[in-house]
Protein backbone atom coordinates (compact mmCIF):
# COMPACT_ATOMS: atom_id res chain seq x y z
CA UNK A 1 0.00 0.00 0.00
CA UNK A 2 1.34 3.42 -0.91
CA UNK A 3 1.48 5.84 2.00
CA UNK A 4 -0.91 8.77 1.95
CA UNK A 5 0.42 11.98 0.39
CA UNK A 6 1.54 14.65 2.83
CA UNK A 7 0.25 17.44 0.56
CA UNK A 8 -2.10 17.76 -2.40
CA UNK A 9 -1.95 20.23 -5.28
CA UNK A 10 -3.94 21.00 -8.37
CA UNK A 11 -1.37 20.87 -11.16
CA UNK A 12 -1.19 23.31 -14.09
CA UNK A 13 1.57 21.99 -16.39
CA UNK A 14 1.16 24.50 -19.23
CA UNK A 15 1.59 23.90 -22.96
CA UNK A 16 5.38 23.53 -23.07
CA UNK A 17 5.37 20.69 -20.56
CA UNK A 18 3.16 18.70 -22.91
CA UNK A 19 5.60 19.22 -25.80
CA UNK A 20 9.15 20.61 -25.84
CA UNK A 21 9.54 20.39 -22.07
CA UNK A 22 8.24 16.83 -21.61
CA UNK A 23 11.18 16.05 -19.34
CA UNK A 24 10.17 18.86 -16.97
CA UNK A 25 6.68 17.32 -16.69
CA UNK A 26 8.04 13.80 -16.24
CA UNK A 27 10.65 14.75 -13.62
CA UNK A 28 8.12 16.90 -11.74
CA UNK A 29 5.61 14.06 -11.48
CA UNK A 30 8.28 11.52 -10.47
CA UNK A 31 9.95 13.81 -7.93
CA UNK A 32 6.69 14.83 -6.29
CA UNK A 33 5.53 11.21 -6.13
CA UNK A 34 8.77 10.29 -4.37
CA UNK A 35 8.39 13.18 -1.91
CA UNK A 36 4.79 12.21 -1.15
CA UNK A 37 3.31 15.31 -2.74
CA UNK A 38 0.15 14.68 -4.73
CA UNK A 39 -0.35 16.42 -8.09
CA UNK A 40 -3.71 16.19 -9.82
CA UNK A 41 -3.72 17.72 -13.28
CA UNK A 42 -6.45 20.31 -13.83
CA UNK A 43 -8.91 18.73 -16.28
CA UNK A 44 -8.98 20.39 -19.71
CA UNK A 45 -6.89 23.41 -18.73
CA UNK A 46 -6.30 26.04 -21.42
CA UNK A 47 -3.20 27.91 -22.55
CA UNK A 48 -2.58 30.88 -20.22
CA UNK A 49 -1.93 33.11 -23.25
CA UNK A 50 1.69 33.60 -22.15
CA UNK A 51 3.50 36.70 -23.42
CA UNK A 52 1.82 36.99 -26.85
CA UNK A 53 -1.68 37.38 -25.35
CA UNK A 54 -0.87 40.17 -22.88
CA UNK A 55 1.39 41.78 -25.47
CA UNK A 56 -1.50 42.64 -27.74
CA UNK A 57 -4.70 41.88 -25.83
CA UNK A 58 -4.62 42.21 -22.07
CA UNK A 59 -8.33 41.54 -21.60
CA UNK A 60 -7.98 38.21 -23.40
CA UNK A 61 -4.89 37.34 -21.36
CA UNK A 62 -6.66 38.10 -18.07
CA UNK A 63 -9.75 36.16 -19.16
CA UNK A 64 -7.78 33.05 -20.16
CA UNK A 65 -6.01 33.00 -16.80
CA UNK A 66 -9.24 33.66 -14.89
CA UNK A 67 -10.81 30.71 -16.74
CA UNK A 68 -7.89 28.49 -15.73
CA UNK A 69 -8.21 29.59 -12.10
CA UNK A 70 -11.88 28.61 -12.28
CA UNK A 71 -11.00 25.17 -13.72
CA UNK A 72 -8.30 24.74 -11.07
CA UNK A 73 -10.87 25.27 -8.37
CA UNK A 74 -12.46 21.89 -9.23
CA UNK A 75 -9.33 20.13 -7.96
CA UNK A 76 -8.27 19.99 -4.33
CA UNK A 77 -5.27 21.99 -3.16
CA UNK A 78 -3.32 25.11 -4.10
CA UNK A 79 -2.38 25.53 -7.75
CA UNK A 80 1.08 24.14 -8.56
CA UNK A 81 2.68 25.72 -11.63
CA UNK A 82 5.88 24.54 -13.30
CA UNK A 83 6.42 27.18 -15.98
CA UNK A 84 7.64 30.62 -14.92
CA UNK A 85 5.58 32.30 -17.64
CA UNK A 86 2.30 30.57 -16.69
CA UNK A 87 3.09 31.30 -13.04
CA UNK A 88 3.65 34.97 -13.83
CA UNK A 89 0.44 35.29 -15.88
CA UNK A 90 -1.77 33.62 -13.27
CA UNK A 91 -0.33 35.74 -10.46
CA UNK A 92 -0.49 38.93 -12.54
CA UNK A 93 -4.15 38.23 -13.31
CA UNK A 94 -5.02 37.94 -9.63
CA UNK A 95 -2.99 41.04 -8.80
CA UNK A 96 -4.42 43.20 -11.60
CA UNK A 97 -8.03 42.16 -11.03
CA UNK A 98 -7.78 42.78 -7.30
CA UNK A 99 -6.62 46.34 -7.96
CA UNK A 100 -8.78 47.23 -10.95
CA UNK A 101 -12.51 46.76 -10.56
CA UNK A 102 -13.36 47.83 -14.11
CA UNK A 103 -11.12 45.15 -15.55
CA UNK A 104 -12.45 42.57 -13.08
CA UNK A 105 -16.01 43.22 -14.22
CA UNK A 106 -14.98 42.91 -17.88
CA UNK A 107 -13.22 39.61 -17.22
CA UNK A 108 -16.15 38.24 -15.21
CA UNK A 109 -18.39 39.04 -18.15
CA UNK A 110 -15.98 37.35 -20.57
CA UNK A 111 -15.77 34.11 -18.58
CA UNK A 112 -19.32 34.38 -17.23
CA UNK A 113 -18.19 33.51 -13.70
CA UNK A 114 -16.65 35.22 -10.68
CA UNK A 115 -12.84 35.35 -10.64
CA UNK A 116 -11.01 33.20 -8.10
CA UNK A 117 -8.92 36.06 -6.78
CA UNK A 118 -7.75 34.33 -3.64
CA UNK A 119 -6.80 30.82 -4.75
CA UNK A 120 -3.12 30.29 -4.00
CA UNK A 121 -0.90 29.93 -7.05
CA UNK A 122 2.56 28.49 -6.35
CA UNK A 123 5.63 27.77 -8.41
CA UNK A 124 7.24 24.36 -7.82
CA UNK A 125 10.21 26.10 -6.18
CA UNK A 126 7.92 27.61 -3.58
CA UNK A 127 6.35 24.22 -2.84
CA UNK A 128 9.74 22.59 -2.34
CA UNK A 129 11.34 25.43 -0.35
CA UNK A 130 8.41 26.63 1.73
CA UNK A 131 5.50 24.14 1.80
CA UNK A 132 7.63 21.01 2.05
CA UNK A 133 10.52 22.92 3.60
CA UNK A 134 14.25 22.62 3.15
CA UNK A 135 14.68 20.30 6.15
CA UNK A 136 12.22 17.73 4.88
CA UNK A 137 13.70 18.07 1.41
CA UNK A 138 17.22 17.46 2.74
CA UNK A 139 15.96 14.43 4.68
CA UNK A 140 14.70 12.83 1.46
CA UNK A 141 18.13 13.00 -0.18
CA UNK A 142 19.98 9.71 -0.61
CA UNK A 143 22.45 10.76 -3.30
CA UNK A 144 23.75 14.25 -2.41
CA UNK A 145 24.90 16.24 -5.43
CA UNK A 146 28.33 16.75 -3.88
CA UNK A 147 30.85 18.58 -5.99
CA UNK A 148 28.34 19.70 -8.61
CA UNK A 149 28.65 23.44 -9.22
CA UNK A 150 25.28 24.84 -10.25
CA UNK A 151 24.50 28.26 -11.74
CA UNK A 152 20.90 29.01 -10.69
CA UNK A 153 19.16 30.95 -13.44
CA UNK A 154 15.98 32.83 -12.47
CA UNK A 155 15.36 34.76 -15.65
CA UNK A 156 12.60 37.36 -15.65
CA UNK A 157 9.29 36.08 -14.52
CA UNK A 158 9.95 34.05 -11.37
CA UNK A 159 10.64 37.14 -9.29
CA UNK A 160 9.51 40.25 -11.19
CA UNK A 161 7.73 42.62 -10.81
CA UNK A 162 7.56 43.73 -7.20
CA UNK A 163 4.44 42.57 -5.29
CA UNK A 164 3.23 40.19 -8.00
CA UNK A 165 4.90 36.76 -7.91
CA UNK A 166 6.11 37.36 -4.35
CA UNK A 167 8.36 34.34 -4.67
CA UNK A 168 11.50 36.02 -3.46
CA UNK A 169 13.43 39.31 -3.58
CA UNK A 170 13.28 40.86 -7.08
CA UNK A 171 16.93 41.89 -7.23
CA UNK A 172 18.75 39.34 -5.06
CA UNK A 173 16.69 36.16 -4.76
CA UNK A 174 18.12 33.05 -3.11
CA UNK A 175 15.32 30.47 -3.22
CA UNK A 176 16.86 28.40 -6.04
CA UNK A 177 20.26 28.37 -4.35
CA UNK A 178 18.67 27.28 -1.07
CA UNK A 179 16.81 24.41 -2.71
CA UNK A 180 19.79 23.03 -4.59
CA UNK A 181 22.20 23.51 -1.69
CA UNK A 182 19.74 21.58 0.52
CA UNK A 183 20.29 18.56 -1.72
CA UNK A 184 24.06 18.82 -1.53
CA UNK A 185 25.11 20.82 -4.59
CA UNK A 186 27.36 23.87 -4.65
CA UNK A 187 26.20 27.12 -6.21
CA UNK A 188 28.22 29.77 -8.00
CA UNK A 189 27.89 33.54 -7.71
CA UNK A 190 27.39 34.94 -11.19
CA UNK A 191 26.27 38.09 -12.93
CA UNK A 192 23.47 37.07 -15.31
CA UNK A 193 21.09 35.02 -13.18
CA UNK A 194 18.30 37.61 -13.47
CA UNK A 195 18.93 38.75 -17.04
CA UNK A 196 16.42 38.12 -19.81
CA UNK A 197 17.08 35.37 -22.40
CA UNK A 198 14.67 36.97 -24.88
CA UNK A 199 12.23 34.09 -24.46
CA UNK A 200 9.26 35.19 -26.51
CA UNK A 201 11.43 36.21 -29.47
CA UNK A 202 12.66 32.68 -30.11
CA UNK A 203 10.25 32.36 -33.03
CA UNK A 204 10.20 35.88 -34.43
CA UNK A 205 13.66 37.25 -33.62
CA UNK A 206 16.12 34.38 -33.01
CA UNK A 207 19.06 36.75 -33.59
CA UNK A 208 18.11 38.73 -30.48
CA UNK A 209 17.75 35.53 -28.45
CA UNK A 210 21.17 34.31 -29.53
CA UNK A 211 22.81 37.54 -28.39
CA UNK A 212 21.08 37.67 -24.98
CA UNK A 213 21.43 33.95 -24.28
CA UNK A 214 25.11 34.00 -25.19
CA UNK A 215 25.76 36.57 -22.47
CA UNK A 216 24.05 34.29 -19.94
CA UNK A 217 26.02 31.19 -20.96
CA UNK A 218 29.27 33.17 -21.00
CA UNK A 219 28.67 34.48 -17.50
CA UNK A 220 27.81 31.04 -16.08
CA UNK A 221 30.90 29.52 -17.66
CA UNK A 222 33.15 32.33 -16.38
CA UNK A 223 31.84 31.78 -12.85
CA UNK A 224 33.04 28.18 -13.01
CA UNK A 225 29.63 26.48 -13.18
CA UNK A 226 29.34 22.85 -14.32
CA UNK A 227 25.73 23.29 -15.33
CA UNK A 228 22.74 25.66 -15.25
CA UNK A 229 19.49 25.06 -13.38
CA UNK A 230 16.22 26.63 -14.53
CA UNK A 231 12.55 26.66 -13.55
CA UNK A 232 11.11 27.75 -16.88
CA UNK A 233 10.69 25.85 -20.17
CA UNK A 234 11.23 28.99 -22.25
CA UNK A 235 14.58 29.78 -20.64
CA UNK A 236 15.43 26.11 -21.06
CA UNK A 237 14.58 26.18 -24.75
CA UNK A 238 16.93 29.07 -25.38
CA UNK A 239 19.80 27.92 -23.15
CA UNK A 240 19.73 24.24 -24.09
CA UNK A 241 18.22 23.89 -27.57
CA UNK A 242 20.05 26.92 -29.00
CA UNK A 243 23.36 26.36 -27.17
CA UNK A 244 25.12 24.57 -30.07
CA UNK A 245 23.97 27.27 -32.49
CA UNK A 246 25.25 30.00 -30.15
CA UNK A 247 28.61 28.25 -29.79
CA UNK A 248 28.84 28.30 -33.57
CA UNK A 249 27.95 31.99 -33.90
CA UNK A 250 30.43 33.09 -31.22
CA UNK A 251 33.03 30.45 -32.09
CA UNK A 252 33.26 29.20 -28.54
CA UNK A 253 32.51 26.12 -26.48
CA UNK A 254 30.31 26.20 -23.37
CA UNK A 255 29.11 22.60 -23.06
CA UNK A 256 26.87 23.53 -20.12
CA UNK A 257 24.03 21.06 -19.50
CA UNK A 258 20.81 22.89 -18.60
CA UNK A 259 18.72 21.07 -16.01
CA UNK A 260 15.23 21.70 -14.78
CA UNK A 261 15.23 22.06 -11.00
CA UNK A 262 13.12 18.90 -10.71
CA UNK A 263 15.72 16.91 -12.64
CA UNK A 264 18.57 17.86 -10.29
CA UNK A 265 16.51 17.49 -7.12
CA UNK A 266 15.14 14.21 -8.52
CA UNK A 267 18.67 12.94 -9.03
CA UNK A 268 19.46 13.63 -5.38
CA UNK A 269 16.50 11.60 -4.11
CA UNK A 270 17.68 8.62 -6.16
CA UNK A 271 15.54 8.83 -9.31
CA UNK A 272 17.12 7.27 -12.40
CA UNK A 273 17.81 8.87 -15.76
CA UNK A 274 14.68 7.34 -17.32
CA UNK A 275 12.43 8.98 -14.70
CA UNK A 276 14.09 12.37 -15.15
CA UNK A 277 14.09 12.49 -18.94
CA UNK A 278 17.82 13.21 -19.05
CA UNK A 279 18.06 11.76 -22.56
CA UNK A 280 15.75 14.53 -23.83
CA UNK A 281 18.34 17.19 -23.04
CA UNK A 282 20.15 18.52 -26.10
CA UNK A 283 23.43 19.27 -24.30
CA UNK A 284 24.29 15.78 -23.05
CA UNK A 285 24.62 15.76 -19.24
CA UNK A 286 25.90 12.16 -18.99
CA UNK A 287 29.69 12.86 -19.07
CA UNK A 288 29.35 15.51 -16.34
CA UNK A 289 27.14 13.37 -14.11
CA UNK A 290 29.42 10.34 -14.53
CA UNK A 291 32.47 12.45 -13.71
CA UNK A 292 30.80 13.59 -10.49
CA UNK A 293 29.75 10.03 -9.65
CA UNK A 294 26.05 10.90 -9.86
CA UNK A 295 25.06 8.47 -12.60
Amino acid sequence: MTPKNIMEYSYYPGCSLHASAGEYDLSTRELFKTLGIGLTEIPDWFCCGATPAHNVDELLSLSLCAKNLELADSVEGDVAVACAACFSRLKTTQHTLKENETKRKQVEKAIDAPVKLDSKVKHLLEILAKDLGLERLAAAVNKPLSGLKVACYYGCLLTRPTDVPNLDCTEAPTIMEHVIEAVGAETVAWTHRLECCGANFTLSRPGVVIQLTNAILESAKAAGADCIMVGCPLCHGNLDIRQKEIEGVYNTNYNLPVFYLTQLVGLSVGLGSDKLGLDAMIVNPTPLLKEKGLL
Binding site: A19, D44, N55
Partner: protein, 189 residues
Protein backbone atom coordinates in the same frame (compact mmCIF):
# COMPACT_ATOMS: atom_id res chain seq x y z
CA UNK B 1 9.47 70.11 -34.65
CA UNK B 2 7.41 72.56 -32.64
CA UNK B 3 5.36 70.95 -29.91
CA UNK B 4 2.12 72.73 -29.24
CA UNK B 5 -1.36 72.04 -27.93
CA UNK B 6 -2.35 71.12 -31.50
CA UNK B 7 0.36 68.48 -31.93
CA UNK B 8 -0.68 66.64 -28.77
CA UNK B 9 -3.22 63.84 -28.98
CA UNK B 10 -4.39 63.61 -25.42
CA UNK B 11 -7.18 61.12 -26.17
CA UNK B 12 -4.68 58.51 -27.28
CA UNK B 13 -2.60 59.00 -24.15
CA UNK B 14 -5.72 58.63 -21.99
CA UNK B 15 -6.45 55.31 -23.71
CA UNK B 16 -2.92 54.16 -22.91
CA UNK B 17 -3.43 55.17 -19.28
CA UNK B 18 -6.77 53.37 -19.03
CA UNK B 19 -5.49 50.18 -20.62
CA UNK B 20 -2.27 50.10 -18.62
CA UNK B 21 -3.77 51.27 -15.34
CA UNK B 22 -0.79 53.57 -14.86
CA UNK B 23 -0.17 57.29 -15.24
CA UNK B 24 2.50 58.46 -17.69
CA UNK B 25 2.64 61.81 -15.83
CA UNK B 26 4.26 60.15 -12.84
CA UNK B 27 7.51 59.64 -14.76
CA UNK B 28 10.26 62.15 -13.86
CA UNK B 29 12.74 60.83 -16.43
CA UNK B 30 15.35 59.30 -14.15
CA UNK B 31 16.17 56.79 -16.89
CA UNK B 32 16.44 53.78 -14.60
CA UNK B 33 14.10 51.77 -16.86
CA UNK B 34 16.33 52.24 -19.88
CA UNK B 35 19.48 51.56 -17.87
CA UNK B 36 18.23 48.10 -16.94
CA UNK B 37 16.41 47.26 -20.17
CA UNK B 38 18.00 44.25 -21.93
CA UNK B 39 16.44 45.33 -25.22
CA UNK B 40 17.24 49.08 -25.13
CA UNK B 41 20.12 48.64 -27.58
CA UNK B 42 17.65 47.37 -30.19
CA UNK B 43 15.26 50.31 -29.78
CA UNK B 44 15.33 53.73 -31.43
CA UNK B 45 13.35 55.09 -28.46
CA UNK B 46 14.48 53.48 -25.19
CA UNK B 47 11.77 52.99 -22.51
CA UNK B 48 12.19 56.35 -20.73
CA UNK B 49 11.87 58.18 -24.05
CA UNK B 50 8.72 56.21 -24.92
CA UNK B 51 7.15 57.62 -21.74
CA UNK B 52 8.46 61.11 -22.52
CA UNK B 53 6.90 60.97 -25.98
CA UNK B 54 3.61 59.95 -24.39
CA UNK B 55 3.82 62.85 -21.96
CA UNK B 56 4.21 65.13 -24.97
CA UNK B 57 1.38 63.41 -26.87
CA UNK B 58 3.78 62.32 -29.62
CA UNK B 59 2.51 58.78 -29.84
CA UNK B 60 2.73 58.54 -33.63
CA UNK B 61 6.50 58.58 -33.33
CA UNK B 62 6.35 55.57 -31.01
CA UNK B 63 4.00 53.53 -33.17
CA UNK B 64 6.00 54.31 -36.31
CA UNK B 65 9.10 52.76 -34.77
CA UNK B 66 10.04 49.33 -33.58
CA UNK B 67 10.67 49.94 -29.88
CA UNK B 68 7.40 48.48 -28.61
CA UNK B 69 7.90 45.31 -30.67
CA UNK B 70 11.37 44.80 -29.25
CA UNK B 71 10.24 44.94 -25.62
CA UNK B 72 10.64 41.42 -24.18
CA UNK B 73 8.17 41.96 -21.30
CA UNK B 74 10.91 41.06 -18.80
CA UNK B 75 9.39 43.41 -16.19
CA UNK B 76 12.75 44.94 -15.19
CA UNK B 77 11.53 48.51 -15.82
CA UNK B 78 8.33 48.11 -13.81
CA UNK B 79 10.24 46.47 -10.97
CA UNK B 80 12.83 49.23 -10.74
CA UNK B 81 10.77 52.36 -11.37
CA UNK B 82 11.09 54.56 -8.27
CA UNK B 83 7.79 56.25 -9.02
CA UNK B 84 5.66 53.19 -9.76
CA UNK B 85 5.18 53.73 -13.46
CA UNK B 86 4.14 50.31 -14.78
CA UNK B 87 6.08 50.56 -18.01
CA UNK B 88 5.53 46.90 -18.96
CA UNK B 89 1.78 47.56 -19.01
CA UNK B 90 2.29 50.79 -20.96
CA UNK B 91 4.15 48.75 -23.59
CA UNK B 92 1.26 46.24 -23.64
CA UNK B 93 -1.24 49.07 -24.10
CA UNK B 94 0.80 50.61 -26.93
CA UNK B 95 1.05 47.25 -28.69
CA UNK B 96 -2.67 46.70 -28.29
CA UNK B 97 -3.45 50.10 -29.83
CA UNK B 98 -0.91 49.56 -32.60
CA UNK B 99 -2.37 46.07 -33.18
CA UNK B 100 -5.84 47.59 -33.53
CA UNK B 101 -4.55 50.09 -36.10
CA UNK B 102 -3.29 47.32 -38.38
CA UNK B 103 -0.14 48.05 -40.29
CA UNK B 104 0.86 50.88 -37.97
CA UNK B 105 4.17 49.23 -37.24
CA UNK B 106 6.75 47.62 -39.45
CA UNK B 107 7.62 44.82 -37.05
CA UNK B 108 5.56 42.24 -38.86
CA UNK B 109 7.39 39.09 -37.68
CA UNK B 110 6.65 39.71 -34.03
CA UNK B 111 3.04 40.57 -34.88
CA UNK B 112 2.70 37.46 -37.04
CA UNK B 113 4.03 35.25 -34.23
CA UNK B 114 1.58 36.81 -31.76
CA UNK B 115 -1.31 36.44 -34.18
CA UNK B 116 -0.63 32.75 -34.84
CA UNK B 117 -0.21 32.12 -31.11
CA UNK B 118 -3.65 33.58 -30.38
CA UNK B 119 -5.23 31.71 -33.30
CA UNK B 120 -3.85 28.44 -31.90
CA UNK B 121 -5.49 29.13 -28.54
CA UNK B 122 -8.83 29.86 -30.16
CA UNK B 123 -8.73 26.74 -32.34
CA UNK B 124 -7.06 24.20 -30.06
CA UNK B 125 -7.28 25.66 -26.56
CA UNK B 126 -3.57 25.11 -26.13
CA UNK B 127 -0.31 25.91 -27.83
CA UNK B 128 1.26 23.37 -30.16
CA UNK B 129 4.83 24.46 -30.74
CA UNK B 130 5.43 22.34 -33.82
CA UNK B 131 2.39 23.78 -35.57
CA UNK B 132 3.21 27.31 -34.42
CA UNK B 133 6.78 27.15 -35.75
CA UNK B 134 5.83 25.47 -39.03
CA UNK B 135 3.03 27.92 -39.84
CA UNK B 136 5.22 30.86 -38.82
CA UNK B 137 7.96 29.81 -41.23
CA UNK B 138 5.53 29.34 -44.10
CA UNK B 139 3.69 32.62 -43.52
CA UNK B 140 6.85 34.64 -43.02
CA UNK B 141 8.46 33.07 -46.08
CA UNK B 142 11.43 31.78 -44.05
CA UNK B 143 11.04 28.14 -45.01
CA UNK B 144 14.49 27.15 -43.87
CA UNK B 145 14.55 29.01 -40.54
CA UNK B 146 15.70 26.74 -37.68
CA UNK B 147 15.45 23.79 -40.05
CA UNK B 148 18.53 22.21 -38.51
CA UNK B 149 16.85 22.14 -35.10
CA UNK B 150 13.82 20.18 -36.34
CA UNK B 151 15.14 16.61 -36.69
CA UNK B 152 17.06 16.89 -33.41
CA UNK B 153 13.97 18.04 -31.52
CA UNK B 154 11.85 15.31 -33.10
CA UNK B 155 14.40 12.65 -32.11
CA UNK B 156 14.37 13.95 -28.53
CA UNK B 157 10.59 13.78 -28.42
CA UNK B 158 10.36 17.56 -28.11
CA UNK B 159 8.08 18.08 -31.08
CA UNK B 160 4.76 16.31 -30.90
CA UNK B 161 3.20 15.55 -34.27
CA UNK B 162 -0.15 14.59 -32.84
CA UNK B 163 -2.09 16.06 -29.98
CA UNK B 164 -5.39 15.60 -28.21
CA UNK B 165 -8.02 18.32 -28.27
CA UNK B 166 -9.55 19.90 -25.18
CA UNK B 167 -13.03 18.59 -24.46
CA UNK B 168 -14.26 22.05 -23.47
CA UNK B 169 -13.21 23.96 -26.61
CA UNK B 170 -16.60 25.64 -26.93
CA UNK B 171 -15.85 27.52 -23.69
CA UNK B 172 -12.73 29.13 -25.13
CA UNK B 173 -14.68 30.21 -28.21
CA UNK B 174 -17.26 31.81 -25.92
CA UNK B 175 -14.54 33.85 -24.19
CA UNK B 176 -13.23 35.16 -27.52
CA UNK B 177 -16.77 35.92 -28.72
CA UNK B 178 -17.84 37.69 -25.52
CA UNK B 179 -14.74 39.90 -25.63
CA UNK B 180 -15.49 40.78 -29.27
CA UNK B 181 -19.07 41.62 -28.33
CA UNK B 182 -17.99 43.82 -25.41
CA UNK B 183 -15.65 45.73 -27.75
CA UNK B 184 -18.32 46.09 -30.42
CA UNK B 185 -20.66 47.64 -27.84
CA UNK B 186 -17.89 49.93 -26.57
CA UNK B 187 -17.88 48.29 -23.12
CA UNK B 188 -14.20 47.46 -23.25
CA UNK B 189 -11.12 48.79 -25.03
Amino acid sequence: MIISQETMDVDFVRKVETLSGTSVRRCFQCGKCSAGCPMATFMEHPPNRVVRLLQLGQWQRILAGRSIWYCASCETCTTRCPNKVDLTSIMDALRKLSWDAEGASKESYVQLANKLFLQNIRTYGRQYEMRLAAVFNVKSGQFLKDLMLGPKLLAKGKLKLFHSKNKNLSEIEKIFTRIEEMRAKGEAL
